[in-house]
Symmetry: C2
Subunit: 332 residues, 2 copies
């Protein structure tokens, strides 16, 4: 017996903005698990901006893609996993996978909904938590500006700062998202970066300057943040989505005022979430507490079916998503 | 009795590149020192890039300028200073000054030549030492790239790294300076940024990448350094001389590849020399040792007379100087 499954492959390296034609869904037959293996049916998969970088360097045309996913064990010959267990795995973009138990870990659907392990309880949540508190050295009560604030990472950054007594300013790409930041996520000030001047808005929302700018986008917002940083300000660089689809010879100009760092002793520091792996237990404890108390809110944008995975991914760069972008691959 | 002295005043805020007409030399009469005061005749004064920033924000048109200077006590009614003492003071751009002892400190001409207290033994030396070892967290044997490498700060940065067993790459603005970096300051590799491609040169001089980029200039060299940094690389930002003469609306574009910081966990951190004040004793001990052993070399470019002070300052931005730029105000 075997299981029919589908997987998304990279067909060609995207140049500039990715297109649906850069991806290809292939059908494959998966054998039953052997001794020491489990068969997993993925329920949710994640699409994330970092995947754009891997499509440029890492994955090659023809390769199957991967990423975060949550699935259900549907057959087990592994002592540590039982049929019906839910597991986090890194075989996103696959409907099914065989695992020998390496790189998968059980998640508890009673603690938080399954999908949140790809969001606030997962990589985006840990990215926000570590980027703000560890890399950004955020201290209770400080003033934080976060760009892409309605996204999976940004909305958590702002809420953590708010929970810890800070003043929070966020930017997003539509008036509806801006309203959501203020009304739902409790941001003190928010603006639409497509229609408002970032520096004017920062001055309005934080007359005395900002201590931490959580950088998700690059471009003019970084420039405005540098102008409006306070002495000893920190800029954890999580992403620069404005630059991800740059191609050789067509690079978006960087901030023209990096010399602001000098007299203000500003630190910019890049990071990826792996830096905080050792602090995951603390993170899960913090986050589950905030979810249960109702202090931490989250949104999800869910596309249905593996055929729509590439569209979901492209939507990350066109501002289509509201909160964590997911693809639902199975009902359970 | 009184002393006739001259002082340089800011006549108008420079727009873009400073011009001689932005400055004015005024004559003044200085009274004899009262009880608790000393009269100092300055011998050397320093001109430094940071002064450009103060001319934009800080000094106002009409103000007398200031900066580092070394002078001789020519009359004293202060218990701690005797006629003939040499003192460091912050009344550069002045031929004479009256001091109550605050902000002046004796220097020992036996330890190192008087002028070096404005150079390798002074602010530029401490800037290089602290920027590389403290802000840049340089570890023995690492690979360092420094721009403006033939300047007062850059040449010391490169030599400290070399003394500490590192591989050193430098850039400068003429073939003569490049030759000097290699032949005299012991750089492993050097290039003329006006005629060579920085990234190509970095790959040539440091095939495995650079650990620390000591940033003095901004612009394309920062971009090349970001591309060629190793994981966990550090970029202490000392200056961005390419941007100092930017005026509103005419800002030089910044690096287009700051997203390099993310996967490489790169830190950029601005600093000014005041950050290292608490470590000055260690610095003086290190530096005097290196000067005496002959390991630390230095150059000076000396203009004569206060009438030429503004020309000396402007020369900083046209690449005229070779090493520390000084103005000699008196023979002794």
């Amino acid at each position: 017996m075997s299981t029919t499954s589908r997987t998304v492959h990279l067909k060609s390296r995207p140049v500039g903005m990715p297109k649906v034609e850069d991806f290809e869904v292939r059908e494959t037959q998966i054998d039953d698990p052997k001794d020491g293996e489990v068969l997993i049916r993925n329920i949710y998969m994640s699409v994330d901006p970092y995947m754009r970088g891997r499509m440029h360097e890492g994955w090659r045309p023809g390769d199957a893609l991967g990423g975060g996913a949550v699935g259900k064990v549907i057959a087990s010959r592994h002592p540590d996993f039982a049929e019906g267990d839910y597991v986090l795995n890194s075989a996103g973009w696959h409907e099914h996978l065989i695992s020998n138990g390496g790189g998968i870990s059980k998640v508890d659907p009673e603690l938080a909904p399954l999908s949140t392990y790809l969001g606030v309880m997962g990589m985006p949540g840990l990215t926000a938590w570590g980027g703000l508190l560890v890399t950004g050295e955020y201290k209770d009560g400080e003033t934080v500006f976060v760009s892409a604030a309605s996204g999976a990472v940004g909305s958590v950054v702002g809420q953590i700062a708010r929970i810890k007594g800070g003043t929070v300013i966020g930017s997003a790409g539509s008036d509806a998202k801006v309203a959501m930041l203020k009304d739902e996520f409790g941001f003190n000030h928010a603006f639409n970066y497509k229609t408002a001047d970032p520096l004017t808005e920062l001055r309005r929302g934080a007359p005395e300057g900002i201590d931490v700018y959580f950088e998700n986008v690059g471009g003019v917002q970084l420039e405005a943040a540098l102008f409006h940083m306070r002495t000893f300000g920190r800029i954890p660089i999580c992403g620069m989505i404005a630059h991800y689809n740059d191609s050789e010879g067509h690079l978006t100009p960087g901030p023209r005022n990096l010399s602001q760092t000098i007299y203000k002793f500003i630190t910019l520091r890049g990071f990826v979430v792996s830096a905080f792996e050792g602090q995951r237990a603390q993170f899960l404890s913090d986050m589950s507490g905030w979810i249960k108390s109702g202090e931490m809110k989250y949104h999800e944008t869910v596309h249905e079916g593996i055929d729509n995975a590439s569209r979901a991914f492209i939507g990350l760069f066109t501002g289509e998503n509201n909160g964590k972008m997911l693809v639902k691959l199975a009902d359970d």
